[in-house]
C-alpha cells in the first residue's frame, strides 16, 4: 500500500512538480536574458546616446546622425551577442528540463533493471 502510495505520487503530483520546476527554470532564464525585449529593440540606439531632437546647422545634424548610427550599431552588436547567449541558455535549460522529467519517469524501473542484470550476472569488466 505504501509503495502504491509512493508510485501514485511519483507519477502524479511528483511528476507534475518536476515539469513545473523545469518550466520555472526556463522562464527565469528567459526573463533574465529578456530575449523578447532584445529582439524588439534590436536596432535601437544603445542607451539612447545622442537621442532627442537636434537643432542647429547641418553639421550638427550630420554629427547626431553619425552618433546615432554608431549607437545603433553598438546596440545591435551587444543585443545580438546577448540574444545568442540567451537562446542557447534557454535551449540548454529546456533540454535539461525535458531529460530530468524523462529520467524521473524512469527512476522506479531502475530496481527491476538491477534485478535483471543481477540475474544475468553480467559484469562490465568481464566483457
Amino acid at each position: 500500500m505504501f509503495i502504491l502510495g509512493l508510485l501514485q505520487w511519483w507519477y502524479g503530483d511528483g511528476w507534475a512538480r518536476q515539469v513545473v520546476v523545469a518550466r520555472d527554470r526556463v522562464i527565469s532564464i528567459y526573463d533574465y536574458f529578456s530575449v523578447d525585449l532584445l529582439a524588439k529593440s534590436w536596432f535601437a540606439p544603445f542607451r539612447q546616446i545622442s537621442a532627442g531632437k537636434v537643432s542647429g546647422p547641418l553639421q550638427a545634424h550630420w554629427n547626431a546622425f553619425v552618433d546615432r548610427t554608431i549607437s545603433r550599431f553598438v546596440g545591435a552588436f551587444m543585443r545580438t551577442i546577448l540574444i545568442v547567449i540567451g537562446v542557447a541558455s534557454i535551449v540548454m535549460f529546456s533540454t535539461a528540463g525535458v531529460v530530468a522529467v524523462f529520467l524521473w519517469a524512469l527512476l522506479p524501473v531502475i530496481p527491476f533493471i538491477g534485478l535483471a542484470l543481477a540475474m544475468i550476472g553480467w559484469l562490465p569488466w568481464n566483457g
Partner: protein, 791 residues
C-alpha cells in the same frame, strides 16, 4: 527522516558499487534498490512533510503538519493547548494577543471526551476563514471559544470576539506574504534598460525608487481601497494619450508616497497587466533641496531643472515624481517657485510627471495659478478606514519590529488607532496611527509594544493622561481631591465636588470620550473663589498653574474677535486653539463669559458640546482632555440679595439661572451646554478668617528662605477681617489688608534687625490697630491739607 533516507540510499549505492568491484553481480540489485529510499526521500521532502497523514473528512485530516506532529493519538484539550503553545502560529497569537500557552492550559479541559467538540469548533473556524489547514492560531481560537465565559476572559486583556478572528487573518496574511516573497519575481532581465538613456543628473538630484524596489527594498503594499484605485488611475492616465501627468492630492499621512511606490512596483513586475509603453519605466523622485543647493541662483536653478528634465525626456523611460510638489511651486525655506519652467512641460506632456500635494497647498496654488492646476490630472486620496488602517499597521509594523527589535501586540495597534485619531492632528490615517505606533516602540516592556506603551507615548509627548488611573498614589489623589483643593480654597464645597467628580469619572474611564472631561459655569460675585478653584485644580491635578489656559473674554467683545480666538498658533500663540493644541490636558478658564460677543459664544458651543473647536485653518482642536470652566459675575447683586434674605444657594440656584435667561444675559442653548452651573455664594466673616489663614500661610512660605515665621493673634485676625470685609469684593481685599498690616510690620522689623533667622514675629491686636490708626491719622492730615476744589 529525510536525512536518514538519504544516508540509506548512499550506503546502498556504495555497497552496490563495492559488490560489483569485487565481481559479485548482486551489486546490480543493490544499486537498483538504492533508488527506492531516494524516491521516498523525494516524496517526504516535496509532499509528505507538508501534508497531514490522513485523508478524508475527519478533522485531524486537516490539521496542519506542525500541530499534528505535537499531538498524541487521543489528545485531551489540555494537551492540544500545550501543543498550540509550541507551534509558530500559536506562539504568534501568544505574543501578539497575550493568549499564551499558560493561559490556554488554565482554561483547557483535561477531559478527552471534549476533544471531538473542540476539533469540530476548530474545523468550523477553518472553514469560515477559508483556510486549508487547522493551524495553531485557529486551534487557539477554538480553545478560547470553548471556555464558557470566554468573552469576559478576553475582555480582561482588552480583546473582543472579533479580535480573535482578526488574529487568524493576520497570521494567515503574514504567512501568505512570506510565501509570496520567496516566489521568483520577473523584473525584465539584464537588457531591460539598454534601449533607454543614461541618467547621471537624475542619479545626482533624484531618488530612483524603482531601483530601490528592484534591489529588494520595496515597501509591502496592502489592499487599501483608496490606494488601489489611485494606482489604477495612475496607470490609466499614463497609458492613455492625454496629459501625461497626475497630481495626488490628500492630507499628509494618507499614503501618497506609498501609492507612488506601489505604482513603481507594479511597473517593474513583468507579470502585471500594464501597457507596454509603461512597463519597466523608472520612477524617480526629484530632491528639491539637492537642486537648490547645487544651483543657488534663480537662473542657474531653472537651467539645472531644465537639464534634468531634458535628461528624463531623452532617456525615454523616466517618470519624474515631485513629492511634496508645493516645494517646486512656491517660495520658502527649501522651496522655490519653478512654475515658469514646469508649467510648459506639464502642459506639453513630453515628460511623464507625478506630483503629490497636501490638499490645502493644492487649493492655495490653484487660487494663485488656476491654469497650472487646470493642466493637471487630479487624483484625490481619501484617508484609510479603521479596518484598512489596521491592515496597514499589521503589515508595516513588521519593518519597525525588525529595526527596533520589538514585537507589537494587537492591543497596541488598536490603541494607536484610537489615540492617534484623537491626538495626532497633523497627519491623516493611516500615517497618523503609524506615527504613534512607531513612537510607542521606545516605551516597550521586555521587547513587547503593548497598549500601555502607546498610552505612555502619547502621555509623554503631549503631557496628557489617557490611561485609566492604576497606581495607588494616583488613585488616592483622585479620591482625596476635595481635601487637596480645600488646602487652597475655602468652602464652595459644591463647586469643588462637581469638578472632583468629573476628574474621577475621567480617570476611571467611565466618562463620555467625545466631550471635554467636564464643562462648568461658575456664577457669583467677584472674590469668592471662581478663578481660584480653576487654579487650584490645575495645580493639584493637572501638574501646576501653568496648565491653566486662561482666556479673558472681556477682550472678545466684537464679532471679529472670533478670528483671534481661533487664530493659527504660528500667527498668534496666545489664541485659545493654539494654547490647547500645545497643551490638551489642561484647565481651560473662560473668564467673564458674559462680556463676550454673541458670535464668540456661538463659536464656543461646539467646544462645550463635542469637545472640538476648529481653528482658522479648519483643523480640529480637541478639548476632550480639558476641563472647561466658564466664570461670570452676571447677577452678582441678585445672589447677594438672595443670601441677605436668608436663602441657601441650593434654594435659589435654579431660579437664579432662569432669571439670567429671562433677563437676556445668557441664551438657554448656551447654558444647556454646561454639565453643571454652580452658584458661588459670598464669604461669611468666619470663612474670611480661613482665607486670612491661607494668605498668612503663603506669607510664611515666602519667608521660609529667611527662616523667619510670622504669627498673628486671633483677636488681631478678627480685627483684620473686619477691616477687609466687603461683601461686594469678597476675599479680594484680604490680600491688601495682610500686605498692609502684616507684611509691612515684618519688613520693618527685618530691616531694623530686630528679627533674625530662626525667630518668630508675633503680631498682636495692638500692632495691627496701630497700623490702622496711623493710616487714619495720615488720611486726616491729607484731607486737612487738600485745597478745596474750585467748581
Amino acid at each position: 527522516m529525510g536525512n536518514s533516507l538519504e544516508i540509506i540510499a548512499l550506503l546502498l549505492l556504495m555497497c552496490g558499487v563495492g559488490l560489483l568491484v569485487i565481481g559479485i553481480p548482486l551489486g546490480w540489485l543493490v544499486l537498483g534498490v538504492s533508488v527506492v529510499p531516494q524516491m521516498f526521500h523525494e516524496w517526504y521532502v516535496q509532499d509528505l512533510r507538508h501534508l497531514p497523514s490522513a485523508k478524508g473528512e475527519a478533522v485531524d485530516a486537516v490539521l496542519s503538519g506542525d500541530l499534528l506532529g505535537q499531538l498524541t493519538k487521543h489528545p485531551t484539550p489540555y494537551e492540544i493547548a500545550t501543543a498550540v503553545g509550541r507551534v509558530g502560529s500559536g506562539q504568534f497569537m501568544g505574543a501578539r494577543y497575550g493568549l499564551t500557552a499558560a493561559l490556554l492550559q488554565q482554561i483547557a479541559s483535561q477531559d478527552v471526551a471534549k476533544t471531538t467538540e473542540l476539533f469540530k469548533r476548530a474545523n468550523d473556524i477553518r472553514a469560515a476563514h477559508g483556510a486549508e489547514h487547522i493551524t495553531g492560531s485557529i486551534m487557539l481560537v477554538a480553545l478560547v471559544r470553548s471556555f464558557p465565559d470566554y468573552e469576559s476572559l478576553i475582555a480582561q486583556i482588552h480583546l473582543d470576539d472579533s479580535d480573535l478572528d482578526a488574529g487568524i487573518s493576520w497570521e494567515q496574511h503574514l504567512r501568505n506574504l512570506a510565501k509570496k516573497h520567496v516566489q521568483p519575481r520577473r523584473t525584465g532581465g539584464i537588457a531591460r534598460d539598454w534601449s533607454f538613456g543614461f541618467t547621471p543628473l537624475l542619479a545626482r538630484f533624484g531618488h530612483n525608487i524603482s531601483a530601490q524596489i528592484s534591489a529588494g527594498g520595496g515597501t509591502v503594499t496592502v489592499d487599501v481601497a483608496a490606494h488601489t484605485e489611485a494606482v489604477d488611475r495612475l496607470i490609466d492616465t499614463f497609458s492613455n494619450g492625454g496629459r501625461q501627468n497626475a497630481v495626488l492630492v490628500g492630507k499628509e499621512g494618507v499614503g501618497k508616497t506609498t501609492i507612488i511606490h506601489a505604482f513603481a512596483d507594479k511597473l517593474l513586475d513583468a507579470n502585471s497587466k500594464v501597457a507596454g509603453n509603461l512597463k519597466f519605466r523608472q520612477v524617480i523622485i526629484l530632491d528639491s533641496s539637492a537642486l537648490i543647493s547645487a544651483a543657488p541662483g534663480r537662473g542657474e536653478l531653472e537651467n539645472l531643472v531644465m537639464q534634468v528634465l531634458s535628461e528624463a525626456y531623452s532617456a525615454k523611460n523616466i517618470i519624474i515624481c515631485l513629492d511634496n510638489a508645493q516645494l517646486f511651486f512656491e517660495e520658502g525655506v527649501g522651496a522655490v517657485d519653478l512654475t515658469n519652467v514646469l508649467q510648459p512641460i506639464l502642459d506639453a506632456g513630453n515628460v511623464r510627471m507625478i506630483l503629490s500635494m497636501d490638499e490645502q497647498r493644492y487649493l492655495q496654488i490653484s487660487r494663485r495659478n488656476s491654469s497650472l492646476t487646470n493642466s493637471l490630472n487630479r487624483i484625490n486620496i481619501a484617508p484609510a478606514t479603521q479596518q484598512e488602517t489596521m491592515d496597514v499597521l499589521q503589515e508595516q509594523i513588521i519593518f519597525i519590529e525588525l529595526r527596533q527589535k520589538v514585537t507589537y501586540m494587537h492591543q497596541a495597534l488598536k490603541e494607536a488607532y484610537r489615540l492617534s485619531e484623537r491626538y495626532v492632528h497633523e497627519l491623516d490615517m493611516p500615517g497618523r496611527a503609524m506615527k504613534l505606533a512607531e513612537s510607542a516602540a521606545s516605551y516597550h516592556e521586555n521587547g513587547l509594544v503593548t497598549m500601555n506603551s502607546v498610552q505612555q507615548a502619547i502621555e509623554k509627548t503631549l503631557d496628557v493622561k489617557v490611561s485609566v488611573a492604576s497606581d495607588t498614589q494616583d488613585k488616592e489623589r483622585l479620591l482625596d481631591m476635595e481635601n487637596l483643593i480645600h488646602k487652597r480654597m475655602v468652602n464652595q464645597t459644591r463647586a469643588v465636588g462637581v469638578v472632583s467628580d468629573a476628574l474621577r469619572r475621567a480617570r476611571a474611564g467611565v466618562r463620555n470620550q467625545n466631550r471635554p472631561i467636564g464643562t462648568f459655569l461658575f456664577l457669583g460675585p467677584t472674590g469668592v473663589g471662581k478663578t481660584e478653584l480653576s487654579k487650584a485644580l490645575a495645580d493639584v491635578y493637572f501638574g501646576g498653574e501653568g496648565k491653566l489656559v486662561r482666556v479673558d473674554l472681556n477682550e472678545y467683545v466684537q464679532a471679529s474677535d472670533v478670528n483671534r480666538l481661533i487664530a493659527d498658533g504660528a500667527d498668534d500663540p496666545s489664541s485659545l486653539t493654539a494654547q490647547v493644541m500645545k497643551q490638551p490636558f489642561s484647565v481651560v478658564l473662560l473668564d467673564e463669559i458674559e462680556k463676550a460677543a454673541p458670535e464668540v459664544l456661538a463659536t464656543l458651543l461646539q467646544l462645550l458640546d463635542e469637545g472640538i473647536l476648529r481653528d482658522i485653518k479648519n483643523r480640529e482642536i480637541s478639548f476632550r482632555d480639558a476641563i472647561v470652566i466658564a466664570t461670570s459675575n452676571a447677577g452678582a447683586d441678585r445672589i447677594r440679595e438672595y443670601i441677605e434674605r436668608g436663602y441657601q444657594v441650593e434654594q435659589f440656584e435654579d431660579q437664579f439661572t432662569n432669571e439670567l435667561i429671562s433677563s437676556g444675559q445668557f441664551r438657554p442653548e448656551f447654558l444647556n451646554r454646561f454639565d453643571e452651573i454652580v452658584v458661588f455664594r459670598p464669604f461669611t466673616k468666619e470663612e474670611l478668617v480661613q482665607v486670612l489663614d491661607m494668605i498668612l500661610a503663603n506669607v510664611n512660605k515666602t519667608l521660609e528662605q529667611q527662616r523667619v515665621t510670622v504669627t498673628v493673634e486671633q483677636d488681631a485676625k478678627m480685627f483684620l477681617v473686619d477691616k477687609g470685609y466687603d461683601p461686594r469684593l469678597g476675599a479680594r481685599p484680604m490680600r491688601r489688608v495682610v500686605q498692609k498690616a502684616v507684611e509691612n510690620i515684618v519688613a520693618k522689623q527685618m530691616l531694623a534687625g530686630s528679627v533674625g533667622a530662626g525667630e518668630v514675629v508675633h503680631i498682636s491686636l495692638a500692632d495691627v490697630q496701630r497700623v490702622y490708626e496711623n493710616k487714619a491719622l495720615a488720611e486726616s492730615i491729607t484731607i486737612e491739607n487738600t485745597p478745596e476744589k474750585v467748581i
